[in-house]
């Protein structure tokens, strides 16, 4: 009995160890950091109508580097912070086979248009009223930006706002690949 009770006395603190280890692992991971299963896979095609009435589709942009940015006018401050970097990247790379497409999700038309006017965005921007494109891209919050290479594969996903550095690094990397 005494050896058994001694073993029991150790069993309780020892049982805590794996539980603590599991908790330590669990609390260290960020529940909002969800790896996208889409990186490395072909980007889903989409066909939308831009705010200016022109059609925007991935199909017609084949062979180009495409950056798809999901945004909303209510997304404060991240979408507002990244907006100037998007336009700057578009101006810097538009003559080098790079296209930027803005997809406005979970938004209303009027504030979305106001947002585009405020930042003077000149790249194509289209609303996604049914939310289908945002689900096709596994978007769970704004802003999110996808970098698609010339072969149509998603190569990088930026969760949260982009910066000039991120735009430059990702675009230059894809530009350096053989066309």
């Amino acid at each position: 009995m005494s050896t058994r009770s001694r073993a029991l006395r150790w069993a309780i603190p020892l049982a805590v160890v794996p539980v603590l280890a599991l908790l330590a692992y669990g609390f260290r991971t960020d529940p909002r950091d969800i790896p996208s299963p889409l990186v490395g896979k072909p980007a889903s095609p989409f066909a939308l109508t831009a705010f200016d009435g022109k059609p925007v589709s991935l199909e017609t942009l084949r062979g180009k580097i495409v950056i798809v940015n999901f945004w909303a006018s209510w997304c404060v401050p991240a979408c507002y912070d990244e907006a100037p970097s998007l336009e700057r990247a578009w101006q810097a790379y538009r003559d080098r086979g790079v296209v930027l497409v803005g997809v406005n999700i979970q938004d209303k038309e009027e504030p979305a248009r106001r947002f585009l006017t405020q930042f003077g965005h000149t790249f194509p921007n289209a609303p996604d009223p049914s939310g289908r494109v945002s689900v096709d891209y596994g978007v769970y919050g704004v802003p999110e930006t996808f970098f698609i290479d010339r072969t149509g594969r998603v190569r990088f996903k930026q969760v949260g706002g982009v910066t000039d550095e991120i735009m430059k690094r990702q675009v230059e990397k894809l530009l350096a690949e053989p066309a």
Partner: protein, 153 residues
């Protein structure tokens, strides 16, 4: 001619009420059942079926649309998993690391039951021996001292 016209019109009316030709009617129950297993992407801990956000609304629309196009509920779920990963499922699949979530509670419950059983047995034995008996004689006293020394190293 006019005799044939009435049933024809009735048929057209019935078809129009059912929806486009060939599309199976989508039951809202199925939409709800699938939605209940999917996480509303902007609300984290709510299901698509329960959340009232615009996103959840749109996701229900997509579920409805896929079912109408002939997808099975499993195919609809697979579509969301393909886009969002397993994270989109509210119940983690019973495989790999996620298996822990399913197994650990039962293992812990079992271990707890065994522990309680052992302790209760020990306590009941102890209380039985604690019943008033003859006063300890010298030999008993010596044994008590010996056992207490053994217990407190």
């Amino acid at each position: 001619m006019s005799r044939a016209l009435v049933p024809t019109l009735l048929l057209i009316g019935a078809l129009a009420a059912v929806g486009p030709l060939g599309a199976a009617p989508v039951s809202e129950e199925t939409v709800h059942a699938i939605g209940a297993q999917l996480r509303c992407v902007v609300c984290q801990s709510l299901s698509v079926a329960d959340a009232s956000s615009e996103t959840a609304n749109q996701m229900r629309g997509i579920i409805r649309e896929r079912l109408a196009a002939g997808d099975s509920p499993e195919q609809v779920k697979a579509y969301f998993v393909e886009k969002y990963g397993l994270w989109i499922l509210l119940a983690p699949p019973r495989q790999g690391f996620n298996l822990l979530v399913w197994v650990v509670p039962f293992v812990a419950l079992g271990a707890g039951l065994v522990l309680v059983l052992l302790l209760v047995r020990r306590w009941s034995r102890r209380s039985a021996s604690a019943s008033p008996g003859p006063a300890p004689d010298a030999a008993m006293r010596a044994r008590i001292h010996r056992e207490m020394a053994e217990r407190e190293p």
